[in-house]
Structures are given as structure tokens and as C-alpha cells.
Subunit: 181 residues, 2 copies
């Protein structure tokens, strides 16, 4: 399963692509940070981000896209940019036709480190280890985007196992009901 | 000058198109409210809004797009949806190639009623009068979108006059400098 993760932001937007499957380590496919100038026109900033996302989606053809869900506890000016960049990312994925999931920062931290309260450094360490890289991806936005993608590969895999188990149980139930006929 | 105004929202997004020129009343070209279900998938909601905006831009070919600038004093949940829908509107205009301007609610109120503190009812009354309609556009999101478009026609016209005056002054200055040679 190939997943494109987005840590949304107007000034810096982290985008990471990883590949992985249930019970196997993930592989880094691509990572970059799209930057736009804070004093540039909003329309130009959103357009630049949209164009780069469309290029990366077309190039890497992910099976799914994971985007950080925006939260209100940040300062208000930051939240606006994050919400706007996040909307562009979700829309770009939808236009491309990939399923989109949003995750809160603590869901991502819990998936990657085992703790929803993990710090930046711990996250970067785990992303580096899980992708078997020599050095931590920089800046933090790049590591966060990769963590989102890893989180989706693993949670998607867990969900797939749950669904398979449910299907097996349902089939066994049907067979057992059939036996009582 | 033809302007498409957007009062952004995920549940209800007002879109209005008006035509006008300096010193003349505006004419209503089109108005509608795009609605998406609050419990629908975010990606589907943004995609639906994007598609309808693209259709309306292609159909009415506005010279400019005016979008309400999101503010922080609303409640946080509402602000997120407004920021996301606003980003989709600004991006749709940029993709279409139309210049985009954002206006605060009080700028729009001041342009249309003369007071930045005008209430919803006063705004609807003035939009009805300025477009010479028989009844007020409903719901409020429709009236607000039209008010944004009217605001831009008038402020755009005022800016054009200022630029023309500056050009004339600069030309006169050049002529006068030429006379002293």
C-alpha cells in the first residue's frame, strides 16, 4: 500500500510518500516541503500548493492520502493557514480520486511512538528508525508528513485485518447457520 | 465589470454574480447557495463545492472574484469550515485565472450600507434596493455573497478612478517637466 501524507501549512507544507504492508517495515518513496512566501498573495500560495500536490499525486499514484486534522488549540493565525492548506490537500486528493483520511496529531503520535503525547524529537527518531534512514528527515514538517503516511499504512492494515476477521466470522456464522438447516 | 462573490461555508456556501460599473446601479446576474451535508465526508463536500464553483466561473466568466475573509471571533468549529470552503473558493478563482480579493465582513457592510456595524436585516434591505429586486435574496448566505460582489464592483471602481487620477497627475507632471527643458 502506497500512502501520501500531508502535514498542511501555507508557509511550509510537508509531503511524504511511503510504501508498506501489514507486518512489514515501510519504505520511503519521496519527501519534500512546499514553501510559499508569507507576504505573497493567498490565491498564488494556494495555487502553488495545489499544483505541486497534483504533480506528486500523478507521479507517485498513492492508494490513499492521509492529512493532519486541524485543531483549534494552536494560535488562530496559524490555524487559518493550516485549515486552508489542509482543504487544498484534501481537495487535491479527491480530485485525483484517492481516498482521504484525516488524523489528529495524537493519533499519529500514538501510531508511530506508542504515545499520543510524544514530542517532536521522539517522533523524528521513530520515523527515521521505521523507514531505516541514516538521518532524520528535515525540517520537522517533512518528518510529520512521513509519520502521517506511516500511521495510515499501519492503521489501514489493522482495519483491513479487522474487516477480514469480520468477514471470516460472518462466513463461519453463515456456514454454521447452514448446518442447522 | 462582472464580479462573483462568495460567502464561504461548508454547509451553506453563498455564491452571487453581479454586473456594474462606476456610478451605475448593479445588475443581478445569478445567485445560488451550494449545500453539503454536515455528516458527509470532508473530501466529498470540498469536491462538490469546487465543482459547482468551476461550473459557475465557466458559465459567468467574472472579471474578478470577491471572497469573505475568515475571522477568528466566530466559534472555532464554524471557522474551520469557513476557512476550508474559503480556500476552495480562492483556489477555484485562481485556477480559473480571475483576480481574487478578500474582504472582511465590516468592509462589506461599510461598502453596502455605509456602516461597518450594520445588521443582517439592514444588509439584506440594501442588497435588495441596490440590485432593484422585488424581494430580498434568501437565505442570508445568498444576500451576503451578492453584497461581497457589489462591494468589489464599487471599491474596484473607486480604485480604478484613483489609478486614473494618479496616471493623469503623473502625465501632467511629465508634461510640465518637459516644458522646463
Amino acid at each position: 500500500m502506497r500512502v501520501l501524507g500531508v502535514d498542511p501549512g501555507l508557509t511550509r507544507c510537508g509531503i511524504g510518500v511511503v510504501e508498506g504492508s501489514p507486518g512489514r517495515p515501510c519504505r520511503l518513496v519521496a519527501v519534500e516541503v512546499v514553501r510559499t512566501e508569507p507576504d505573497a498573495d493567498l490565491a498564488d500560495r494556494l495555487l502553488r500548493l495545489d499544483q505541486r500536490l497534483a504533480e506528486l499525486l500523478a507521479e507517485h499514484r498513492p492508494d490513499a492520502v492521509a492529512v493532519e486534522r486541524v485543531f483549534s488549540q494552536h494560535n488562530v493565525r496559524t490555524v487559518m493557514g493550516t485549515a486552508q492548506a489542509g482543504a487544498v490537500a484534501v481537495l487535491a486528493a479527491a480530485r485525483f480520486g484517492a481516498p482521504v483520511r484525516t488524523y489528529t496529531p495524537s493519533e499519529v503520535k500514538a501510531a508511530v511512538t506508542g504515545s499520543g503525547q510524544a514530542g517532536k524529537k521522539q517522533m523524528a527518531t521513530m520515523v527515521t528508525r521505521l523507514l531505516r534512514l541514516d538521518t532524520a528527515p528535515r525540517p520537522a514538517d517533512a518528518a510529520d508528513a512521513l509519520a502521517l503516511a506511516i500511521c495510515h499504512v499501519w492503521r489501514g492494515a489493522a482495519q483491513a485485518r479487522l474487516q477480514a476477521a469480520a468477514r471470516a466470522a460472518s462466513a463461519a456464522g453463515a456456514a454454521s447457520r447452514g448446518g442447522h438447516r
